[in-house]
Amino acid sequence: MNEWLRQVRLEVGERRQEDGQVQTQTALFDIQINPQGIITKIKATTKESHRQPGKDLAGKLALPAFKEMHNHLDKTYLGRPWKAAVPVKTLQERLSLEAQELVALSSDVTQRATKMIELHLKNGVNHIRSHVNIDSYIGLENLHGVKQALESFSKDLTYEIVAFPQHGLLKEPKTLELLEEALQSGATILGGLDPAGIDQAIEASLDQTLQLAQKYQVAVDFHLHDRGQVGLYTMQQWLRRTKQSNYQGQTTFSHAFALSHLSSGQQAQVIQELAENKIQVTSTIPLNLKSALIPIDALQAQGVKVALGCDGFYDSWSPNFSGDILEKLRNFCEYTGKSSEQALRQSLGLITNQVTPLNSQGQQVWPKVGDEASFVFFQASCSAEVIARVPKVRQMMHQGRWVNRS
């Protein structure tokens, strides 16, 4: 049976005022959704609307549901008693600390992942890409646990699971086998980690990754923390392999810290190649003074698709952060000085798989009949307000179905 949402506020255009202020214009609509969760009609709200059958949103603003594109559901302490983290000096030290507690944490991985998923749902996220450790300490145990947790929410969100060699691809011979097994057991993407910093073998690590990805025809998501020229070289080597094997459009570089602090020539060159090979970039908008923000605006201007993620939180790596992807977006805007209506509004695409209600010219492009009925609803006047003010109260609909797990 078709369902109606009544009095939904949608952005329809913009108006420039005398003082130069751009104001987003909105209007109220009734939206019809079919049993498959697809929008079948959008018509202007009338005086009779609230008396007609359906759910009355009473003027709440609808935005596209949010996408959390970099997470570690297996690592969180959520669901266990509060615990801070232990400071370390190097990534290697962090990894050895993690190795010590991986097995102890695995017993309740499903429950912990569930808590994290619930937090994301409450915040308006209807898609999670989660990395899951695949290593000789934990084997596939975290994968099974995270998969079980995600499957139990399959009506509330979509997801991708990255088989992530957190402790290196080449350091333990068993890891390759385990990754292969993971790709046969529910992991949908192959992960990678600092071929220089961790594997100390850039070319071999990239070759193995490519081979495995091609064998299972899966996308690749590299965590690249390696800074400076060695990180850049790693990207260039992967770009070369991508071209040689025609593996365009299959790669995400997460973090990609090497993209900051490049000379303008090097930056322009690598961004052009990222765009040509349809490589995506994911940032967690790190605020740490040691991690300069990567040039997200320049990447997007050249057509590189950029997405945001919360990364792991409340785990052995970091106890901080709220877990709200919308706050990440606000931090990005604050960091880069985007405080005008248009700049705020257009940034929304970073957490909605590029969907914004208005295009850069201020014309309405979303939602349309035929689109998936996945929304976050806010008591707010427009998307710019939502991004700057980060309202806490939200309701989410995923593919035509109300999600209410909080």
């Binding site: 509060w82 605020l287 923000l293 005008s340």
Partner: protein, 415 residues
């Protein structure tokens, strides 16, 4: 007025694994409050009180202080408005203020009140607000905001800064009279902003600020956004005039971006001079690509107190402020990579006027009998837990009484 808090969690020490702090130990106590002070702290107190509240194991922490706000020119609680891009930097903002501040006079008190109530809900029991004194609004903002805070004087403490946002000298001699008039309307501080780039004569501005502060026995809170060597020059200038005119009252440098971008020598020299004049610093923990976030812990450890402020919550300057001090401290910890129980717990002091429950060595420090009873009850196991996971505040206690309370679900360690 007396208040008895039952079953309050107090931090009593750190638990170590070798040299690393791995947890905070706590004890459940009763606390009796009267005459705005903690009077008795004991295992079980049996006595009468005007108000008795069972905290059910919630943690007691010092309440927050907002040390850099602008209550007088806010969009808060009004309709959403984004920021209009500027063409002439800060001077565009002055032109904008000349237009919009008179328009907002009618809602100034109402919005300011909503903002103060928001601060209280977020656990603040002290607010230092800057208040525009400029050629257009003249003393109107000071008069109205002074009256507004008087409404709250039984609930919170406050400091009012007469803030010449549009500069001083560039507005002509008549404006100096307006500023002087504002200083006699019950403010506690005189403000100022970037005297070099705005007035083009920092010598004269600094001398004037010091002499006015001295004349009216006020503190000084100077906003300095100027970068590295220029900012350092300005701070030295002010302290030079403070010495010359033997100024002894409080000096705060707000923002002080220069401190984030000085060579070690210049930085040390400035810190030493700060110590001599008992200067303190207010920062919003700014984020951005430039060197704008000062080494907060190093400055504080050198003996120069640093305090956090929110600045605009939402106005024509910026739309991003939440007024949530837990989020502000969280940002500080993220910015400086602080992740451990001790470091997290110790970071609370930037929001509480320097008070932590425990010293860095893990010794009990607060609350003690006789301390002012300004505190929060939060659903957290430790200060570290509170700031990392931004645990909710159920009860705001100020001047010895509960001034705000809300229902929260208690989850304790599992939050």
């Amino acid at each position: 007025m007396s208040l008895l808090l039952k079953n309050v969690r107090l931090e009593t020490g750190y638990q170590y694994d070798g040299k690393t702090v791995v947890a905070t130990t706590t004890q459940i106590k009763d606390i009796y409050i009267e005459k705005q002070q903690f009077q008795v702290i004991d295992k079980q107190i049996k006595c009468e009180a005007d108000v008795v509240y069972d905290a059910s194991g919630q943690l007691l922490v010092p309440s927050f202080k907002e040390m850099h706000g602008h209550v007088d020119k806010t969009y808060f609680s009004g309709p959403w408005k984004a920021v209009v891009p500027t063409t002439k930097g800060i001077f565009s903002r002055f032109e904008e203020e000349q237009r919009i501040l008179p328009q907002q006079l009618g809602v100034l008190k109402e919005r300011g009140r909503e903002m103060i109530l928001h601060y209280i809900r977020e656990g603040h029991t002290h607010i230092r607000t800057h208040i525009n004194v400029d050629p257009v609004v003249q003393t109107k903002h000071v008069e109205q905001i002074r009256a507004l805070f008087d409404e709250f004087k039984e609930q919170i403490t406050f400091e009012l800064v007469a803030f010449p946002q549009h500069g001083i000298l560039r507005n002509g001699i008549a404006f100096e009279a307006v500023l002087e008039e504002a200083l006699q309307l019950g403010v506690t501080h005189i403000g100022g902003v970037d005297p070099a780039s705005i007035d083009g004569d920092s010598q004269r501005v600094m001398a004037l600020i010091i002499s006015l502060a001295k004349k009216y026995d006020l503190g000084i809170d100077l906003h300095l956004h100027e970068g590295n060597t220029l900012g350092a020059y300005e701070m030295h200038q002010l302290l030079h005039w403070a010495e010359k005119l033997q100024f002894k009252n409080e000096i705060t440098f707000s923002h002080a971006f220069a401190l984030a971008d000085l060579d070690q020598n210049d930085f040390q020299k400035l810190l030493e001079r700060f110590l001599k004049h008992r200067v303190n610093i207010a920062t919003t923990v700014p984020i951005g690509s430039g060197p704008i976030t000062m080494p907060i812990a190093a400055i504080h450890q050198a003996g120069v107190p640093v305090a956090f402020g929110h600045d605009s919550l939402v106005d024509h300057w910026s739309p991003f402020g939440s007024g949530d001090m837990r989020e502000k401290i969280n940002r500080y910890n993220e910015r400086f990579g602080i992740i451990d129980e001790c470091g997290l717990g110790q970071s609370l002091k930037y929001a509480t006027g320097g008070i932590n429950s425990l010293t860095a060595a893990g010794h009990y420090q607060w609350p003690k009998v006789g301390d002012p009873a300004n505190a929060l009850l939060v659903d957290a196991m430790s200060s570290a837990h509170l700031v990392a996971r931004r645990c909710p505040i159920s009860t705001v206690i100020s001047k010895g009484k509960i001034i705000h309370q809300e229902e929260i679900e208690l989850k304790g360690a599992f939050r």
